[in-house]
């Protein structure tokens, strides 16, 4: 599925761009993402965990930064992960582009998300999943923006640790709520009869 986002940053192009490319920080802007290691090949390993009441989805994944164009200020982030209990996997390609906007800049993110396996195979849930994915990417964008602002405030310490920014954590819960609903939606595609739990 295709998801498009854009947001303004009150920073000149070059600065916004460098903040954006600080992957250890920006990757963690995705709600629930925890960066575990930076590999020799420059790729990043991490976890996406979502606590959903009875259901704990844990994705182990990797992310890579590709096609970095310092002139056009564009790059591609590829991420993919598998649920540890074999319930499916997710792959995402995010094309990021920064363009000047007066003295400030605007960030465009185009994400192509493909879910597969158990979690993707319930038609009744497909609508909710799309909505959920869209909101997760929005949350990512929002967190990224928060991070840029944090840097703007020179609060390097806020993110230097590489842990999710405040924004990310805040949105994590929102993200969880959304994912929660989506997951329940998958479940409800599961059984041929209504009735009750």
């Amino acid at each position: 599925m295709q998801i498009k986002n854009s947001f303004d940053v009150a920073r000149p192009l070059a600065e916004a761009w460098s903040i954006l490319l600080d992957i250890p920080k920006s990757v963690t802007c995705m709600p629930g993402v925890e960066l575990t290691s930076v590999e020799p090949d420059g790729s990043y390993k991490g976890k996406l965990s979502v606590k959903l009441g009875p259901v704990a989805l844990k994705f182990n994944g990797t992310a890579t930064l590709e096609d970095v164009d310092e002139v056009a200020h564009s790059a591609t982030i590829r991420a993919k992960g598998n649920d540890l209990q074999g319930r499916g996997s997710a792959g995402a390609t995010a094309r990021v582009r920064v363009v000047p906007n007066g003295n400030d800049s605007t960030v465009f993110i185009e994400t192509d998300l493909q879910l597969s396996g158990l979690v993707a195979q319930y038609g009744r849930a497909s609508g909710v999943i799309t909505a959920m994915a869209g909101e997760m990417v929005s949350a990512f964008a929002k967190n990224l923006r928060a991070q840029v602002l944090a840097a703007d405030r020179g609060a390097g310490t806020a993110t230097a640790s590489g842990t999710p920014s405040v924004g990310a954590t805040g949105n994590n819960t929102i993200g969880s709520g959304l994912i929660w609903r989506a997951l329940w939606a998958w479940f409800c595609g599961l059984f041929g009869v209504k009735g009750c739990g």
């Binding site: 597969s116 195979q121 319930y122 041929g192």
Partner: protein, 773 residues
């Protein structure tokens, strides 16, 4: 069965047996970069986790066998376990063998497969376009077969035609969804080199043949047994990768191994049928008589080609049906997609062909403002034209030549039963009350009793017991009853005196199996031929012993006796009781006495094996007429009446045939109104449970009214034709037609199956607002 004593594969328990579960691809198309089985192997109770690289050399080198090759086909067969590329969600990647299924599933979710996703082909029409992604990395094109079916001078037919009508018709993917999922048990006795396989199939002989192809074993080492089968409907006639893998597991581990497909696997790994996109044109003269029919069929073959092009071929050959089509030109394109394979499901492509022809008949009727029944009458092949050469070649390589049948009579019988004559009045009256009812007609001719043969051995043991053995394999069609009945007719004994053995390669050496409604025709004829020979031999021996003429003898109640003399039955029976020989006595004589020569060199034993070979298919035919009511505000379709008139030649057992017809009709109703197997644009299946893939329930099926016509086939000694699919084949078309007819005041045209309430409301537009407008 009624008391819970049935014996299905999952009911069989062998000592020391392990349970297996498969790791299946979650990707529609991907490269396998690595598989990590360590965590799975560490689970207590897990004995093996096997990937492609752990398979025996023979299985790594070979791919699954293709039973029905064709010159136009670029065959694509799969490995038993995926090697480096997966081509559909559900493709087997690894297998876990453990103490029980619970543990095996625990381990399956710990096997980590690293996939590199590749672009997938979801829709066959898109896949046929130049520049579409390839369903397999090394494919030149996704189109693996282009086949032309051509009769007469099509260009001339269209050049001269006054009226040409064109329609594009889509028929959506569905499946068999038998209630018993697939299952297999393999047991290998290393000391004797004996492999025993229990499998829920439609023919153990073909499974055995595939195993012989894949494992270097000799014929006598392999025994395949099919116990009770919980429904087949086509897909259980295929050979599947899992069967080879489970045999390999049993041979490697030296323990019996059982794999029972669960319903989730069944949705992604058992063969399905369709999609089909048809783009067709019909040319007719001023009297609405067909001059020619041409077009293309784009067929979704799925990821591999286990049945070659059998399925779309049957569709193409079925289109002309009971009508005179002087010129026919159909180009079939079979397209590989990244979906589970499409192979024959009940009807085997015929219902699709019928939908196409009947939609065109209705189109012609609409354009000419003629009664749809009348348009069909004008185009029917007449009984006087039998045998009728359609001109097209059937998938058994022979020309389609209808052997017999009275198509006009069949349609009339159906129309009369449903009181077609008064329908338009009833329809007008209903509309005055704001109700929308409609009627539809579907005619079909079905090639049944496909060759090459199905053998049967009939044997009278020295204790007088009669056994019939055949390679045919029942899945609820009551074959045993049917075949016992055929044999009992020759011996003059009650059916229950005869034991029928089926589904065991050790009981008869050659067999094909049950599909295409072929069993009654082939096995039935073989039983008949063999029984006749055995009965004759009994008479010959008895005649000698009793010193009477053979022609004076009859078989009754297990005895060969002097036949009743017309007029004085009493006397005859007294006479008979004095001079008669039991089958047991005769069998003993036939078996020969140790140390004595056989009587004038007669073949030993009171038995005979016959392999009846049909010179060509027999052609059954049927007409379905359906009356529906459509709720225009919700789009709900209610079937009010459904009449099916059909001619499957001589009826052996009407109750059994009716059962087959009613079951077949239920499949048609599912295909017409409910069953939709959805995939997303990356070929991820979206319908993987019975809450989303909707099978018809008792509340969705009306009472079915059946009319039998009997035009005996000249092609076999019993004059029978197949009946197994006669309920399904003609019945999808008239349901669609009836819905369209009900909605005719709104000019709705339906060119797809299934048709759902939502779709109906979409087609109705504002009209669906009804009273709320």
């Amino acid at each position: 069965m009624l008391a819970g004593r049935g014996r299905f594969v999952d009911d069989i328990v062998l000592s020391g047996m392990y349970a297996a579960a498969f790791v299946r691809s979650s990707q529609a198309h991907a490269r396998i970069k690595s598989i990590d089985t360590a965590a799975a192997l560490a689970v207590p109770g897990v004995h093996a986790v096997i990937t492609y690289h752990d398979l025996p050399a023979a299985l790594r080198e070979r791919r699954l066998p293709l039973f029905v090759p064709h010159p136009t086909l670029t065959a694509r067969m799969q490995h038993a376990l995926a090697k480096e590329e997966v081509c559909y969600v559900g493709e087997a990647v690894a297998v876990v063998v453990a103490d029980n299924r619970y543990l095996a599933e625990d381990a399956v979710q710990l096997v980590e497969v690293d996939y590199e996703p590749l672009p997938a082909v979801s829709d066959c029409k898109a896949g046929a376009q130049a520049g579409a992604p390839r369903a397999h990395l090394d494919l030149e094109s996704n189109i693996v077969s282009r086949m032309l079916s051509s009769v007469g001078d099509i260009d001339a037919a269209f050049r001269g035609a006054k009226h040409i009508f064109r329609d594009e018709i889509f028929q959506h993917r569905g499946g068999a969804f038998f209630m018993e999922c697939r299952g297999v048990i393999a047991s290998y006795e290393a000391s004797e080199g004996a492999l025993l396989v229990y499998v829920s199939s439609q023919g153990p002989h073909r499974i055995k043949r595939a195993l012989l192809d894949l494992f270097d074993l000799s014929d006598t080492q392999v025994r395949v047994v099919t116990p009770d089968v919980g429904g087949g409907f086509g897909p259980k006639g295929s050979f599947y990768a899992e069967y080879a893998v489970i045999v390999a597991c049993a041979m490697t581990l030296g323990r019996p191994v059982k794999w029972i497909e669960d319903r989730r696997e069944n949705f992604v790994a058992t063969h399905q049928e369709r999609d089909q996109y048809w783009d067709v044109e019909i040319a007719v003269d001023d009297e609405a008589r067909i001059k020619g029919l041409r077009g293309t069929l784009t067929h979704d073959n799925g990821a591999y080609t286990p049945w070659g092009i059998v399925l779309p071929w049957i569709s193409v050959a079925t289109v002309p049906g009971p009508y005179v089509v002087p010129a026919y030109h159909l180009e079939m394109r079979s397209v590989l997609t990244n979906k589970v394979m499409a192979t024959p499901v009940r009807g085997a492509g015929r219902p699709e062909g019928v939908v196409v022809m009947e939609r065109l008949m209705d189109r012609v009727a609409r354009e000419f403002k003629l009664d749809p029944a009348e348009v069909r009458r004008r185009n029917f092949i007449q009984p006087s034209q039998m045998p009728y050469d359609v001109g097209v070649i059937f998938r058994d390589g022979r020309k389609v030549v209808y052997d017999s049948g009275d198509y006009p009579a069949c349609q009339d019988a159906a129309l009369q039963t449903i009181d077609y004559g008064s329908f338009r009045e009833r329809q007008a009256e209903a509309r005055r009350q704001g109700r929308y009812i409609g009627i539809g007609i579907g005619n079909a001719v079905e090639g049944t009793g496909l060759g090459p043969y199905e053998g049967a051995t009939v044997k009278v043991a020295t204790n007088g017991r009669i056994t019939v053995s055949t390679g045919a394999t029942p899945q609820g069609q009551s074959h045993k009853t049917t075949l016992a009945q055929i044999a009992s007719d020759q011996f003059g004994v009650p059916i229950d005196w005869i034991r029928v053995e089926t589904g065991d390669t050790s009981k008869i050496s050659q067999g094909i199996g049950t599909f295409a409604a072929r069993t009654a025709v082939n096995a039935g004829s073989s039983v008949h031929v063999a029984a006749v020979k055995v009965a004759a031999k009994a008479k010959t021996i008895a005649a000698k012993l009793l010193d009477v003429r053979e022609e004076d003898l009859e078989l009754r109640d297990g005895y060969v006796q002097v036949a009743a003399i017309p007029g004085s039955p009493g006397a005859a029976s007294d006479n008979a009781r004095q001079v008669r020989k039991s089958l047991a006595e005769l069998a003993v004589v036939a078996a020969g006495m140790p140390g004595f020569a056989m009587q004038d060199g007669a073949e030993p034993g009171l038995e005979n094996t016959a392999y009846f070979t049909a010179t060509q298919s027999t052609y059954a035919n049927g007409t379905a007429v359906v009356e529906v009511e459509v709720d225009i505000e919700t789009g709900r379709v209610t079937i009010l009446r459904l009449v099916l008139a059909h001619d499957c030649g001589r009826l052996i057992n009407p109750m059994v045939v009716d059962g087959q017809v009613m079951g077949g009709v239920a499949h048609a109703i599912g295909n017409a109104l409910f069953e939709r197997m959805l995939f997303d644009d990356q070929a991820q299946p979206l319908s993987t449970n019975f809450g989303e893939y909707l099978l018809p329930l008792a509340t969705d099926i009306p009472r079915i009214e059946i009319v039998h016509l009997e035009t005996p086939s000249p092609l076999n000694p019993l004059g029978i034709k197949g009946a197994g699919e006669s309920g399904t084949i003609p019945t999808i078309a008239p349901i669609i037609a009836a819905v369209e007819d009900a909605l005719s005041p709104f000019g709705v045209k339906i060119l797809e199956a299934p048709i759902t309430p939502q779709r109906i409301v979409e087609l109705l537009g504002d009209a669906a607002l009804g009273r709320t407008r």
